[in-house]
């Protein structure tokens, strides 16, 4: 028992959480006692004896779990434990439940954890659709309904879509650039372990007096500053999820910039690497804004700082400006990695180089730059300065241009190729082009101020965001999971079940989200538990398709779990792809490469006789390199 507490792990983590939590609680009570205040402050925005432990207990867990051990020893001048790679790689399933610094283990940890949150958020969506199947309130009362859709959105955004991309990239990106690991493996592990803590805070808010946070995922002040205790859990959960994303983004930036294999110039990077470079640029600069604004809300609630208190000189609309200055770039944080996945999948399965590779990379950078200048299009009816609407409209519409370039380039990649559709990954990538085009079109309509004035805050918005986030991001996530499943697990999944999952998801997505456009334009506002009877039939139909969409995800779970355990063994390169991760075994060896590969050409040189992307260990001789390099230099010429 003593040893269990002494060594980092779950027991010391539990001990740390309890000890740090008790310290936070005791500190609050002691300070209140010496200040002659009532020990427990239970106004709904107060509860310092809950908020402070909710900060210290997760930190205590991270300490106990061993996330800080190396750094603390170093900072304290103690002898650091020499790296014996005991925290690297996974020999059994138990190693996935430890503090592990191997990017491949962390990648799997990320993907599995985020999918658990995906299914919890999905269950909430099912409850929401059950309530909305009929006008009137049947299943949950209005306040609980508000908590449900708020938590649904927060789980999906902060602990599913954003981190699952970080997880997929964690696994494949170092392999793709020929690096043995990420630049900062310990920081990488810390980033992962902050994520479940964020999820637990979000879900734990259901236990708070007054219920889970219910001001929407947007948490607009002053509704959020006056909301019950659950809102504080949201404010804190965002800190952990945000810190996790920022640390991961820094890690990706340093890894991509400094750890590419010899010969991998920027113009030889696979587009998935470009996509994660762009995403990370967005995360490091934008995420501090949401972290800041949620602290401001927390301080308004607990410390009466009055940032957004209109009666005390605060400014209500400034919340929305700061929030959207993060949350619009966040839309691209949730989409750019998916663009990268789709590029890899389409090029591989069409057996063709990416059409217009350099313009594809530049379009990503264009989106990064433009996405910082469009945030106020979420506020066309918010009462902000009216002249600001026109420039924001123009930049918003212009962002359709780089996005359009990507769509047309994927289509161009298909032409004169040999398109294979046996892989479920390719089906999802192709369907993504269709659904994302529709989501893009409704996005352009929303960017036009007069149309937005009518449909803002209606079901049209709900339809649009689900078309881009489900039909867009989630389709690319499925494509990525199916595509790299053989690499990650060393086994093949069942393509027949994959097809059932694909077609069910496609029909479910369209059936659920297309009619939402119509009821929204016709007058149904969003975020309502009850609605006018005239929308009843459409909502029943929407709910029916939503249940289909939910049910068919079980096929996906079954396929993944059973194939991981019993699927046929996968070879190193089942898709006959060119990029480096497919040139090593499935799953790859512990430090990825026995010898760092040398990159001699572009990543998508399909159809060029003798072209090579990289020379792996034991392959080729010095004499052969120049010839290979010569034949494959150009892209996009």
């Amino acid at each position: 028992m003593v040893a269990a507490i002494k060594n980092p792990g779950w027991w010391r983590g539990l001990f740390g959480a309890i000890a740090f939590g008790a310290f936070g609680f005791g500190l609050v009570i002691a300070l209140r006692a010496i200040s002659d205040l009532p020990l427990y402050q239970t106004e709904q925005t107060g509860y310092p004896h809950v908020i402070v432990p909710a900060i210290t207990a997760p930190l205590g867990f991270l300490w106990g779990f061993g996330c800080f051990d190396y750094w603390l020893r170093w900072a304290a001048g103690m002898p650091t434990i020499p790296e014996d790679h005991s925290q690297h790689g996974a020999k059994s399933w138990k190693d996935y439940f430890r503090f592990n610094t191997d990017h491949k283990v962390i990648g799997v940890q990320y993907v599995v954890t985020t999918f658990i949150f995906f299914f919890l958020g999905g269950l909430m969506a099912m409850l929401i659709r059950a309530e909305l199947a009929q006008p009137g309130t049947q299943i949950v009362e209005a306040a609980t309904y508000n908590s449900l859709f708020s938590t649904h959105a927060v789980l999906m955004i902060f602990v599913f879509v954003i981190p699952v991309f970080a997880g997929l990239a964690n696994y494949v990106l170092p392999l793709m650039i020929g690096a043995p690991d990420m630049a900062f493996p310990r920081l990488n592990a810390l980033s992962f372990w902050m994520l479940p803590l964020a999820g637990i805070l979000f879900i734990g808010s259901f236990l708070a007096p007054g219920g889970a946070f219910d001001a929407g995922w947007t948490g607009y002040a002053p509704l959020s500053t006056g909301a019950p205790l659950g809102q504080s859990f949201f404010n804190l959960g965002v800190q952990f999820a945000g810190a996790s994303s920022i640390a991961t983004a820094l890690n990706f930036l340093v890894t991509i910039i400094t750890m590419r294999a010899p010969g991998m110039t920027f113009w030889r990077m696979p587009l998935l690497v470009w996509a994660n470079l762009s995403t990370s640029l967005l995360v490091v600069a934008a995420t501090p804004f949401i972290a800041g604004v949620q602290f401001m809300v927390l301080f308004d609630r607990a410390l009466h700082t009055n940032f957004f208190d209109f009666g005390a000189g605060g400014d209500v609309i400034s919340y929305q400006h700061i929030f959207w200055f993060y949350s619009h770039p966040a839309v691209y944080i949730m989409m750019l990695p998916g663009f990268g996945i789709v590029s890899e999948v389409i090029s591989t399965h069409a057996r063709k180089p990416i059409f217009g590779y350099r313009l594809m990379a530049l379009a990503l950078i264009g989106i990064v730059v433009l996405s910082y200048s469009v945030w106020a299009h979420h506020m066309f009816v918010a009462g902000m300065f009216s002249w600001l609407r026109v420039p924001m409209m123009i930049t918003t519409l212009l962002i359709a241009v780089p996005t359009g370039i990507k769509i047309f380039s994927w289509l161009g990649t298909l032409y004169f190729g040999k398109i294979h559709t046996y892989s479920t990954a390719m089906l999802f990538a192709l369907a993504f082009i269709v659904t994302f085009t529709i989501g893009g079109i409704s996005g352009v309509m929303l960017g036009m101020v007069p149309i937005d004035i009518h449909v803002s805050d209606t079901y049209f918005i709900v339809a649009h965001i689900h078309f881009v986030l489900f039909g867009g991001s989630v389709f690319t996530i499925f494509a990525g999971v199916y595509h790299w499943f053989p690499k990650m697990t060393g086994r093949m999944y069942d393509e027949k079940l994959g097809r059932v999952h694909f077609w069910g998801t496609l029909v479910g997505t369209w059936g659920t989200f297309i009619p939402m456009h119509w009821v929204g334009m016709d007058g149904m506002p969003r975020r309502v538990a009850d609605y006018a009877a005239q929308f009843g039939d459409w909502n029943l139909l929407i709910s029916a398709f939503a249940f289909l969409l939910g049910a068919v995800q079980l096929v996906f779970v079954y396929n993944m779990v059973v194939s991981w355990r019993f699927g046929p063994k996968a070879g190193a390169n089942p898709w006959r792809a060119n990029s480096i991760e497919w040139q090593v075994s499935s799953p790859p060896p512990i430090f990825n490469f026995t010898e760092i590969p040398r990159v001699v050409g572009g990543p998508y040189e399909y159809g060029i006789p003798g072209a090579k992307h990289a020379i792996m260990a034991g392959e080729g001789t010095e004499a052969e390199v120049p010839a290979g390099e010569k034949s494959v230099v150009g892209t996009g010429s």
Partner: protein
């Protein structure tokens, strides 16, 4: 090599599909009944967008399905496609053409925006007050005669709504008018509407404001000038004290009109 593609046929199918989709979709009255001068303008803008969108959507679909039909690999074919890396002219075209389309959409939207928000002389001013979970309205011309839960306005006269929220953000939306504006605590927001059809409508709150959000509604009556004047004269309540205070506290107008000092 693009000569090998039936570009003319693909374009013809795209145009045919655009025509069919547009013809069907423009017929449908998506936004519901029109009851203000802004409504036909916004609906027309939507129809223009539907035609442009139908073209873009058709183009993508024709390009995608032709490729899937024509370039699908035969079973067992393990060869690669042709190593085409790009085509500069094509890439310039699909950068420039969408830019032109969206700039047109932006310019047209700006024009419509100016038209629907153009202030006229002789407009009626109505103060709107929102709070969890009720609407009320005051008529400054009648020394703040006050109506709770029922808004009356005359037909064919421009109305300027000056909006105030007492607790959290609410949003004022009459779908038939196509006009929406948030009511924000601490500032006065403004919306301009010219109702042009008599009838009874519903005012819907569209900004999440708490557990009663879904049922925060008010009745809107658009009636002849005579009936309206009679109704206002019949109001016997004066504006309650807390709302009077909000009016006095938030005299500055936010947002200022375009070109009127604020721009």
């Amino acid at each position: 090599m693009y000569g090998r593609l039936p570009i003319v046929k693909m374009l013809l199918v795209t145009i045919a599909s655009t025509v069919v989709i547009s013809a069907v979709m423009v017929q449908i009255n998506w936004d519901g009944q029109q009851a203000s001068t802004a409504a036909p303008k916004i609906d027309h803008l939507l129809n223009v967008m539907i035609v442009l969108s139908a073209f873009v959507f058709s183009l993508v679909m024709v390009m995608l399905f032709y490729a899937l039909w024509k370039f699908k690999a035969k079973p067992g074919d393990e060869s690669d496609g042709e190593p085409i890396h790009g085509n500069t002219r094509l890439e310039i075209a699909w950068t420039l053409i969408p830019t032109i389309i969206v700039l047109f959409a932006g310019g047209y939207s700006w024009k419509v925006l100016d038209e629907i928000e153009n202030p006229k002389d002789g407009a009626l001013t109505v103060s709107v007050f929102s709070q969890q979970y009720a609407w009320s309205f005051a008529y400054p011309g009648k020394e703040y005669a006050w109506s709770e839960g029922e808004l009356h306005v005359p037909v064919d006269r421009q109305v300027v709504f000056k909006m105030h929220a007492l607790d959290v953000i609410h949003s004022f939306w009459v779908p038939e008018w196509r006009i929406k504006k948030d009511n924000v605590p601490g500032i006065t927001t403004k919306a301009i509407v010219t109702p042009d059809k008599e009838g009874t409508y519903q005012l819907v709150c569209t900004e999440l404001c708490g557990f009663g959000h879904a049922t925060m509604r008010a009745k809107v009556v658009v009636e002849s000038r005579a009936k309206f004047n009679k109704w206002v004269d019949g109001l016997d309540q004066k504006l309650p004290e807390p709302m009077m205070k909000v009016l006095e506290d938030t005299t500055t107008e936010n947002p200022p009109a375009l070109g009127a000092g604020g721009a």
